[in-house]
């Protein structure tokens, strides 16, 4: 029974069938592709490629092996920059969260650094590391470190006082407290922050690759245009970037479902 109670979700209604659940998303995508194709057909002199041309370009990349190489290159940079940031940021964030003084001292600086686009660091990155993988990884590290630190710090602030009190009550040492109380307690918020930051890192890698390296999906886009106005490859690159970004996001959303994390999602009502 589908009852449109103006947004009210009543228990015994809105049991849409499985097929209609898949139908709508596909319809949306189909509509988009159709509009795109029509738009391109109406402007035959435009350089913008249609969906078919893009699909062909993706095929071309796959066959030549470039698809695999570039995707791996981009993922490689993201992984290293991001993981390094994660390993450093979580302890820093926890330390800052626990130390009132430390936070007061450093937080203003963090807030100041936060709005500085990682890409603004490009000249410095190139200065220090030259053009290449390390510069790109440095930019990704920069882009990830601050948000992850702030996430960890805020998560520590949000730990229920009663839990810390219980830990102290049971005679836990500092190290045990961190391991048995603090880390499990911040996990839900941390994972959400990790997912969002991974999204940012993915954005940055593409931008960084446009400027500082010679492989990867970002490079593909710039190179395809510069080397021969291959806009079908440009859009193919965009599609791939979008797809991988979605996959990365889904991957981390899976983590949110684990039992050690799931408790953090309180039912809103």
């Amino acid at each position: 029974m589908v009852a449109r109670f103006y947004g009210l979700h009543v228990l015994n209604c809105a049991r849409l069938s499985e097929t209609s659940g898949k139908f709508l998303p596909l319809a949306g995508i189909a509509l988009f592709l159709a509009v795109w194709q029509v738009g391109v057909a109406l402007h035959p002199h435009s350089l913008v490629p249609g969906p078919l041309a893009v699909a062909r370009a993706i095929g071309e990349l796959a066959v030549s092996g470039l698809l695999f190489r570039y995707v791996v290159a981009s993922l490689f940079r993201v992984t290293w920059g991001y993981l390094t940031a994660l390993l450093l940021a979580v302890p820093c964030g926890i330390a800052l969260g626990l130390s009132r003084r430390g936070e007061e001292a450093i937080n203003p600086m963090l807030q100041l650094l936060r709005p500085i686009s990682p890409l603004a660091w490009i000249p410095i990155a190139i200065l220090w590391f030259g053009v290449g993988d390390v510069a790109a990884m440095f930019l990704i590290f920069l882009a990830s470190f601050l948000p992850l630190t702030l996430t960890a710090m805020n998560a520590v602030h949000n730990i229920e006082g009663v839990h810390l009190a219980a830990g102290a009550n049971f005679g836990l040492t500092s190290r045990q407290l961190v391991r048995s109380v603090i880390v499990p307690a911040i996990l839900p918020q941390l994972i959400v922050g990790m997912r969002i930051t991974l999204g940012i890192a993915w954005l940055v890698v593409v931008a960084a690759e446009m400027i500082a390296v010679s492989s990867g999906l970002g490079f593909l886009i710039i190179d395809a245009r510069n080397a021969g106005n291959r806009y079908d490859l440009v859009v193919a690159g965009m599609v791939l970037i979008g797809a991988i970004g979605v996959l990365l996001d889904l991957m981390l959303r899976r983590l949110e479902k684990l039992d050690v994390v799931r408790w953090g999602w309180v039912e809103a009502r």
Binding site: F5, Y6, G7, L8, H9, G21, L24, P25, G28, I29, F32, S46, L47, V48, R101, E104, A105, I106, N107, P108, M109, Q111, L112, L113, R114, P115, I116, S117, P118, L119, A120, W121, I122, P123, I124, G199, W202, L203, V206, A207, M210, G218, I221, A224, R225, Y231, V234, V235, G237, M238, I241, G242, A243, I244, G245, V246, L248, D249, A268, R269
Partner: protein, 249 residues
Amino acid sequence: MRKIVLPLVTAAVLLVAWHYAVRLSGTKIFPSPVAVAKATVALAEKSLLWRYIGDSLMRVAAGYLLAVILGVPAGILLGWYPPLARAFNPLIQMMRPISPLAWMPLAVIWFGVSNLAPIFLIFLASFFPVVVAAMNGVRDVPPVFLQAGRNFGLTPRQQMTRIVFPAVLPRILVGLRIAFGVAWLVLVAAEMIAVDSGLGYLIIDARNAGKRYDLVVAGMLLIGVIGLLLDIAIRRTERFNSVRWGFKE
């Protein structure tokens, strides 16, 4: 008191450390804090700085406001009609991770090398967070409010204006703040590539034109300060009574 002294002291310590690191490493290129300060002053005097800041602000305002004006209604619609959301959500999720910079070649085709290209990129970057925030906000409106609305005999349009919109406002504000942060980041990147004024341009140009890293760092700091001030300004809106209830004290 401690809240002001402590950060200032830390900042001072870092500045001194920076200064000596530059001195000790003997680098000829990386600027010391003093050099950066001098460069900033020189820029301010030359009025170029104000022009650049103005251009950057103008671009971000145009792209961001457009995204808000289009994105909030779109998000509310998507949240209100679940079938619409189901149809378009996958598209949104797929377009969101595409770095606005990846759109650069297309932007240049459509808008040429002009102000419109970065504005378009900023629009793209801000649009999705705003839509998603509005959409999720509407979906999460507690049913009690809607039930009460129906009980009091509100028409669907009244439901929208008198219940959904006020209830969603805090979430939208959060989305606006996040979207602005993204817009600011993208602005700088966009200006590095497609235009010839603005803070992003300043950084790239300073390096390309003469390895003026003191200007580069000055530009970075300016970007940080202005971005922070704007973020604080947006946060201020969260204190209004009509939305304050939505934020934990």
